[in-house]
Symmetry: C2
Subunit: 341 residues, 2 copies
DNA sequence: AAATAAATTGCAACCGATTGCAATATCAAA
DNA sequence: TTTGATATTGCAATCGGTTGCAATTTATTT
């Protein structure tokens, strides 16, 4: 019969020893004699034994599952982060439950509840743009379930965070535009509720100041960065009002791509009239005409890092409370969209 | 104490009834008196009861978990499919374990093993391009674990499949190019091991024949559709050898985007010299210059469909063996990359 | 009111692994 | 050879929900 599952009781019977010994042998308990252990391991393998995780979880009160909540899956960045987390987690015998908030606070709260009910051992989150309050994470904190953030973090919460230096990236991007001779640089970004956008904005502002370019509120544009929002802004503000910049720094490649497409459609040449810098080094940045100068984001590394911190916490190596924030490096990738010279 | 978990025993004690009754009341057993049931439900809610899934799984031998193995996450199509599956599955109280094969057979086999060991109740798969044999799915079939495929399917296996009509989509795309006046249409695609590419190719061929255009092997190009493979092909075969088509049908938008970028770089105008059609309606198709004519893929619908079939099987409505293949509709989305007139 | 049928509820075993503590085996020292 | 120390192994309870079957209630019929 293929049907019957093999249990430690079967192994015990086969070897004429007790199930406790089998259990301990299987989990490498130090009190077990090496010979006995090897016999157990061999028999288990021969009989095709698989641990029943539910019995084990029930008893140990742990699930070997890590929850991941992210805004969306459909970017190279996110899928790289997931690949990084998955690699580290699977090697350690953990499974992932992944869900998308689709930038909605409500869905994020829902997802968090599902994760809680599934009793994940740890939760890794990148916040949705819509999220304003963090009450849905309280349960986790109260119950001592490790909660870590990456990229879009909750600064108010006392959790471990893995981020890039958004300030510096914003500074570098802006500085690059200035060095290309831009004097009137627009910054199109999302609202300031998320650290990533706020810090990039601060970097942008600081670069302007350092190079003695006055920062004016009207240079700085906030919207939700959807395709239509970008198109509308460009057509209404730049084209119609003839309020034309010589450089634009946008905080995503897809919005930069939309911007370039729209601007060219209205007769502007990129980068001669307007230089453009995006963010993320997503695939899209390579295939627009011209290709987009952007900031490279270390996705896989970010995923591996956040997963490793969590796992170290589980195994008792490393303390979540000690590693509060990890900052990863980024690079500016220069392509034609910004090269005036 | 926030600490202590509430169990059915606590509820039983509070109401002075037996745990069995509580269990049955909670799971809507018909034998339980409605009044009793309501009391149980109310008390459970008031006390903040949460089912312990491990105890339940242990006893019921089901995990309420569905495994999903896909090639990659980073496309709009895949993230839509996942969103669709997730929506249906979560509503029914199921969790998802998602993993990426990254187009590698080895990783896919590995992922399948992990899913098996995690005892998923069902497995949903879209095959990697590298997959040649299907032995890693045997375990599931032998053990009666439902196995469903979507998009990139294993035709040899007797599983339920959800696909689009790739033949027709290929036909439509090609027909569109022909109607634009193209006479020499290249087809750049992946190798024929996956149904999606094979069927699109057959559609392409049929359209040529129907419109009395001779199909020649040299029109038809196979490679792995990576960025470099596309660039190399175009530079070596089209540009250097001056073997220039007047239309190209590629089976992904990202490769179409790369093709357009490369061709323009070499002085061709799109669509005047060469009309281009892609596949997938990924975001990238909208931001290239010119934007790409493509086939729209019903991602969310595909995900919902495959998940719903699986869930119906679990609940006993609908029989997996009866629904063998579901075919969803696609549309041709015409954009500038193909409009010669 | 007694007898029979139908509706509810409870008992107790079970799912399979884990673990504190007691029991036994092994080995070295006296 | 006896004793005490140490290394191994086993016993039995436990985690929390589920379910076949028996027991008890309640409703219906005569």
């Amino acid at each position: 019969m293929e049907n019957k599952e093999i249990t430690i009781y079967d192994i015990a019977k086969a070897l004429n020893i007790s199930p406790s010994t089998v259990s301990r042998g299987l989990s490498n308990h130090p009190a077990i004699n090496t010979k006995t252990k090897n016999k157990i391991l061999k028999t288990a393998h021969d009989m095709g034994y698989q641990t029943n995780k539910f019995a084990s979880n029930l008893r140990k009160k742990t699930t070997n599952t890590i929850g991941v909540i992210i805004p969306r899956l459909d970017s190279l960045f996110m899928s790289s982060v997931i690949a990084g987390i998955e690699k580290v987690a699977n090697n350690a015998g953990y499974n992932l439950i992944i869900s998308q908030s689709l930038e909605s606070e409500k869905k994020e709260k829902n997802n968090a509840l599902t994760m809680y009910n599934s009793r994940v051992d740890g939760l890794i989150v990148s916040l949705s743009n819509g999220t304003r309050d963090y009450s849905h994470f309280k349960k986790f904190i109260d119950k001592g379930i490790p909660l870590l953030f990456f990229d879009r973090i909750a600064e108010e919460l006392p959790s471990t965070k893995v981020v890039i230096d958004n300030f510096r990236a914003g500074y570098t991007a802006t500085q690059h535009l200035i060095e290309q001779g831009c004097k009137k640089i627009f910054h199109i970004t999302n609202d300031m509720h998320r650290n990533v956008y706020r810090d990039r904005f601060e970097g942008y502002k600081k670069a302007l100041i350092d190079y003695s370019i006055a920062f004016k509120e009207e240079l700085f544009v906030i919207n939700d960065m959807t395709e239509s929002a970008i198109v509308n802004y460009i057509e209404d503000e730049i084209v119609k009002k003839q309020n034309v910049p010589d450089g634009i720094f946008l905080t995503s490649d897809s919005s930069a791509a939309v911007a370039i497409t729209t601007l060219r459609h209205h007769g502007f040449s990129i980068p001669q009239d307007i230089a453009v810098v995006g963010f993320n080094n997503d695939i899209i940045s390579k295939v627009t005409e011209p290709p987009i100068t952007t900031i490279n984001y270390p996705g896989v590394e970010m995923g591996e890092t956040v997963a490793r911190i969590l796992l170290n916490h589980f195994t008792g190596n490393g303390n979540l409370n000690l590693t509060n924030t990890v900052v990863l490096n980024t690079d500016l990738i220069v392509r034609k969209s910004s090269l005036k010279s």
